[in-house]
Symmetry: C2
Subunit: 358 residues, 2 copies
């Protein structure tokens, strides 16, 4: 049985500006430790899937950087999207690529920009998802047990357990958009709702069949790529076909429409590394909660700050709840609770014509 | 008539840490423009006193840096104190040096770490002080017209105007220590109190005579240096004599004790460049009052911040009243109103053994 890891590395987020830039999105950054989130994602899978069966879907502008970071992955397995067309197109492209080699092969689809702290439990859970996907020929999504009443994630409401011997595997009762705080609290207490993780398992042919049913235009478009998939004409074919593909997420475009779906409950430590603020939990911190990526923080009457300043000593006196980031060309300071507004800075840079800093 | 500029460059302050370090005190920093405060001090005097008659008194640890910054000043005119012994010793040493060449020569004594914005008025005022010092053989101190109710400066209370033709020159009624706010407010409104500037004019022999009268131990100690003043043995003589000198300020030790004193009212734009906070007035600022030393600030819902971050772009979102300083090895953030507490950081660095950063 063939298993492929499909790494979804299409992100171009701005929430880690100024560390992230157009040419260096979050998944390519070493935000925790010395390896990038992308490198960690591939390395984490090594016990289950070797690099020879890793497929990376990324933006054309990042393909070279991805290749540089993953020298162990064959170059033809880095699929470069000429334009972003959301996740249904990306997983479809990957499934098409896999299906030409083995239609029954399993795809384990993983975002390139998440952090997982319990790797053993992660692999065990993925194994469970893989078995469910193969035993029943279903689509499988991983749902994370909520740790708090998050309002920033979508939720999956679990249905009936399919097999009492595998209580972690359920049917899906419903998908829910990002909730308000009261609803999120109710989800947390109710115990039937899981965070939508963006991690999936399915046989290539099963995904393609579901795509054909629920996203026929997308499936037809992808089908036009099939003849070019193994040859030197792939980039040209992608450039012709991709811009015309519907841009829809696999969750919204397929998973929410099919009954042929299972959710596997996941409890490994996980973070979507969503913003500088989130690093407070992921970076080492002093007793007053001042977290730093590296270097050292000397905090006097200062609490709960998040600092990325290279190897500098950061001296804080009488400041709390701030994010401070220093790069070679930028100093950024803002309150932690406003991290989502970094995009306002990006917009201002665009307005000011400071394109070098984007 | 010979006029010497005596530049008092003994400061070792820490209030501009991390830009200032033990080896690079404030007067050696280019805090405004491209030249250091020391260089600006000497350049400002050029129309009145050329570099061949500039004398700099500085700490031995800074003498080489001073010489590097002032190549136009003859090396033997940089007097290196082996230990700091406050200003009475420093001005006494300089007066002794000048007196060997010309006892009647005038010393214009200027701190190396102040900023003056109206240089024409400054030179005019110094000329007036010089004439008063020479005409009457008195000590002359410059008193600055207060611009606000400052509690961080000492005050000089003016007495009778000596000559109605020179209404800016008065006797001194009293010296006052740093006042409380209410007193400072009263001083400001009363119009008879001036900020003590640390700028003086006197003939070398007049200062030495006053020192002998009011600080006989200091004067006797300095006298032991006289034979070595012109020769290669000066450093050795200073090392032997200086540690034993009384450490007293010329204000407290001489000016407050003598009746042989005039104060000249000064109105040139002046700043003692006392802390990062003070730079808000001295650096270019945007409409929201965000001042930066250089580079560019992009401020979104952010007011009244003071930033020194080299040529970086500084992006501020939702923060106000902060000081942020980036150097190669340090990031410092604190509220502007706590700038005087930078010394707490210095103390912590000492406690932590981080001597490289001091």
């Amino acid at each position: 049985m063939n298993i492929y890891t499909v790494v979804m590395a299409g992100g171009s987020g701005t929430r880690f500006w100024p560390a992230s830039r157009r040419a260096r999105p979050k998944q390519l950054l070493a935000l925790t430790g010395k390896r990038s989130l992308l490198q960690q994602t591939v390395a984490r899978m090594a016990p289950l899937v070797g690099p020879e069966r890793v497929l990376v879907v990324t933006g054309a502008g990042h393909a070279q950087a991805v290749a540089d970071q993953l020298p162990q992955v064959p170059g033809e397995q880095i699929l470069a999207e000429p334009v972003a067309r959301n996740t249904a197109a990306a997983v479809g492209l990957a499934a098409l690529w896999v299906a030409r080699r083995d239609p029954r092969a399993l795809c384990l689809v993983l975002p390139a920009d998440h952090l997982i702290t319990d790797e053993t439990l992660f692999l065990e859970t993925l194994g469970r998802a893989a078995r469910a996907a193969m035993d029943e020929d279903v689509l499988v999504t991983l749902g994370l047990t909520p740790r708090f009443a998050a309002t920033g994630f979508g939720y999956i409401e679990t249905g009936q357990v399919v097999d009492e011997a595998s209580p972690q595997v359920s049917a899906v009762a419903a998908f829910h958009e990002k909730p308000g705080l009261a609803t999120a609290q109710a989800y947390l207490e109710g115990g039937r709702h899981l965070w939508n993780s963006g991690m999936f398992a399915w046989r290539a042919e099963v995904l393609l069949k579901e795509l054909a049913r629920h996203q026929p235009a997308l499936a037809a478009g992808l089908e036009r790529l099939a003849p070019a998939l193994d040859g030197p004409g792939l980039a040209q074919a992608l450039a012709e076909v991709y811009p015309g593909l519907p841009a829809v997420s696999v969750d919204h475009g397929v998973l929410e429409k099919t009954g042929n779906l299972r959710v596997v409950k996941a409890d490994f430590g996980w973070s979507d590394v969503g913003s500088w603020d989130a690093m407070a939990e992921l970076w080492p911190a002093d007793e007053a909660g001042n977290a730093r990526q590296q270097g050292r923080v000397l905090a006097i009457e200062s609490q709960d700050n998040v600092v990325s300043a290279g190897n500098r000593l950061t001296a804080l006196l009488g400041v709390s709840g701030l994010v401070a980031v220093v790069t070679d060309d930028v100093l950024l300071i803002l309150p932690r609770e406003r991290c989502q507004e970094v995009r306002k800075v990006i917009e201002a840079l665009q307005t000011e014509g400071l394109h070098d800093l984007l």
